[in-house]
Amino acid sequence: MTARRLETGGRIDRSRELTVKFDGKSLPAHPGDTLASALLAGGQQMVGRSFKYHRPRGVVAAGVEEPNALVHLRSGDRHEPNAQATMVEAFDGLTSTPQNVWPSLQFDVGAVNGLLSRFLGAGFYYKTFIGPFSGTKYWMFCERFIRRAAGMGRAPTLPDPDHYEKINAFCDVLIVGAGPAGISAALAAGRKGDNVFLVEQDRDLGGSLLSEPLGAPSDAWLAQARAELDGLPNVRVLTRTTAFGAYDCEVFGLLERVQDHVLAPEEGKPRQRYWVVRAKRAVLATGAIERPMVFAGNDVPGVMLTSAVRSYLNRYAVLAGERIVISTNNDSAYPAAIEFAKAGARVTICDLRAEAPTQFVDSAKKAGIDLRPGHAVLKVSGGKGVKAAHVVRIGPGGKIKGNATRIACDLVTGSGGWAPALHLWSQRFGKPQFNEELDAFLPPAEKGTFSCVGSLIGSPSLRDTLSQGHEAGGAVGKEPALFGHADHWGRNLVPLTVIAKVNGRTPGKAFVDFQHDVKLADIDQAHLEGYISVEHLKRYTTSGMAADQGKTSNLNALARMAELRGLPIPSVGTTTFRPPYTPVTIGAVVGHDHGLNFRPTRLTTIHGWHQDNGAVMIETGAWLRPWYYPAKREDINDAYIREAAHVREHVGIVDVSTLGKIAVQGPDAAEFLNRIYVNGFKTLPIGRLRYGIMLREDGFVFDDGATTRLGDHDYFMTTTTANAANVLARAEYLLQTAWRNLNVHVTSVSDQWCAIAIAGPKSRALLTALTGAELSNEALPNNHFANVTIAGVSCRLHRMSFSGELAYELYIPAKRGRQIWEALMAAGEPFNLKPYGLEAMGALRIEKGHITGSEIEGRTTLKDLGLEGFASSKKPFIGSVLRKRPVLEDPARPSLVGLEIVGDTSTRAGSLLYALSAPTKGHGEGWVSSVTYSPALKKNIAMALLSRGPERHGETIQVVDFVGGQSWLAKVVSHHFFDPEGKRQNG
């Protein structure tokens, strides 16, 4: 192929020159070029090696369907794999390198795979490595070599330096594709006053009109249409934007390549923008993609689509070959061939049909074209470039006759008909209908809120295309009238794209899917092996599964399967299209939602103090909480043990603002609480609080917390941090669906209240000194609350204990949290007050045997947790019936116990439990839920769920951590390790 840039013509800016690089070689280009057009103009015929066989490959197409010309783009942290050279706009400084070549593009070691092709056919992986070698490590051994040899581009390894944006948008009508049909629709809808989005993947509006010769009648119309669109403020035109997904309820995903066409994004601009557009209706004007012909050597560089060669000629002023042989099964090759000839090429048309179309014969002959009706290209010879086409006579039904004639040439093009780009339609609605006459799957013109127009539905002429667009847009204003041969539908098509010998084989490798190296013979083999379903065929041969998703291969693979099975194409079916239409950068979908922006971080209003005072923080759900406050040279173990011991001896405070808090209000609040808690709440007097447990309807424990009665109809509920949202949603569900007659309102007040727990023998003295309130055991017994004032702020002081010490929880208006915390710290100095973190809080509650999320984990019942005594027998509550299911009453169920670990090391949560003499195999008899070192007992202890646990106190068992590979012996004890009578908290 001796491609060259023509002296005149093309839609490129010849006044400016720029340089692009490929494989280290500099190539001249102009604004308006793509990397592919620059490669062709620069004589770079071979652009990569194929996926499996490492065969030389060149540019096939001029657009989004390009299967071969995939390159690495840019370098360093902007390195990008699998860029289609046909879609990459040329810019000054562009660097690109070929993919899947080693050591070089010209000499590639992997090409030896080509010699082994009979072993690398359909199902190769399954047969070789899964079948006979299954269960061996052979596959794993081979995989790394195979992965290196077979592949697409190299994934980037450095962090992406660029920004990506997300935008939500709404419109009346989304028009996809700005060719003649889409523009016509946008004009009509825009005039009507609709809020219009016109989306075009190319840099320019025009679609197929951009491949018309410069100065074609359509140019004037296009210029006028663009100007009118510019003047319509209600029409938003998005170029360089791909509508990649059509989703339910008319939601569309768009990818706008804002700054892909420059070396690096301008300051403040995103590289790409991801749009989520919600449209009232859609007009699809996505056009059609030409089908390649399938013959031996159809992948040699220099075998292209006829329409692509036309685009390179008319849009980029690049004549891709001097001596061109065209193989066509329809009329659409003729206007293109005439243009090639006029541009100076010698052209032969092999028409698979017996007769050349009469309307083109004269002009073709006048242009000097060698017309060969009843002929086809059987084979192309050449290695790294086309050397000759072997042309053969062909009869009806595609049967070849006689011997082939060799025609020396440098370019062979195929015109196998057109495949509508119905991907978006199919994503939304499923299977399209097959049209026999056009040999293509077509969507209907109207379905639901979708209109399809233009080549997408096989529009017979440009005039029809414009008219369809006009109607779909709303038919406002003058219907565009434009004549010309920009008719991309091949008329009078014979449905034949495979040229093979009489025995059905091709004289050399003929490819169906270029990008995944799937040969015609692979389809045949799959058929022989009994594959019938096209979905299976696709997965077995991997045809249509590459990055291009079979834009040029699907129909040819289907047609072959249909032929082999002796069925019409619609009976064989088509595969399902799924988003995205073209690959979408993950970065664009992520946008700014990564790192700290992945989700909001919830901070308590005391957070600043924790930070200022050296707290080590830990993530719990979305919350950041103080984990421990290390003194000098302390690690976490030193710190929490010190903090926990300090609480038992003096007094400590901990930030518990993360607890869920719900205001339960209304005349039926008590009845509501009575139904959702297992214990009774109807008798709770004002001024008191009560610990309560909730079950799910299936009888398992859901959550626990304390609820305080503030007034007649006014309750304040706390939930665990983790379940705050779930409890509220559940309460709303019950009140709004089943219990509508209850007059109760639930409101989240989690963010309105800050909470601090004050625990330890000196807590009463501290709080008395700080508040001046009477806090004696008589004035404020356990499970009562008092209103107090601290530093002029009204707070609520709840007397309750999670640590087992004399303890209080102070509820403070959220904004005053830090102020009150600091007031406590200042007043606490004489009492030796210290803050403690989550780890020490855990140690204290485990010493007391209190449960948290580690025990309320969705599989435990009241009975399992030793809390059955809380359940009221006088009233029904959620879960009261199903908790009594026989399976949940089984005494062999794992139940809560304490463990004292023998030795000096701590066990790990999740460790499994086995009887002393039992083999440590299988799931064991239970598991460890929580572990700590107990400073009060000076022992490593744990809470665990053990089968028949309460009957086994005193027994020694084995504790095995299979993850860490450690085991311990432990003594089963009551989980109420410390002060089981509760003297300290009630004192």
């Binding site: 339910d248 939601v251 309807e697 299936d698 569900y733 029904p876």
Partner: protein, 88 residues
């Protein structure tokens, strides 16, 4: 992504909602003591293909539970109503 009509907030993205349950199933009366009734309520659910009524919770909106009339096959949504206003 579905677009769900909330009777309070209008047409909103599915991401603002969480799916609740089959809206044709009724919570048994609290005095119901038969385990079979509760068992059937909790565990026996249909998975219909076609038009269906289901609860959605407008969690990131008005926090109302709504009944959405939706075709599970086509995802077409025919309408919605506040759960508290739907005949029990």
């Amino acid at each position: 992504m579905l677009r769900i009509p909330c009777p309070v907030c209008g047409l909103r993205d599915e991401t603002e909602f969480s799916y609740g349950a089959d809206a044709t199933v009724r919570l048994p009366d609290m005095n119901e003591a038969d385990p079979k009734v509760w068992h059937d309520y909790v565990f026996i659910r249909d998975n219909p293909r076609g038009p269906h009524k289901e609860y959605w919770h407008h969690v990131s909106g008005c926090r109302q539970w709504i009944v959405v009339h939706r075709d599970t096959l086509t995802h077409e949504i025919f309408g919605s109503a506040l759960a508290r206003e739907v005949a029990a």
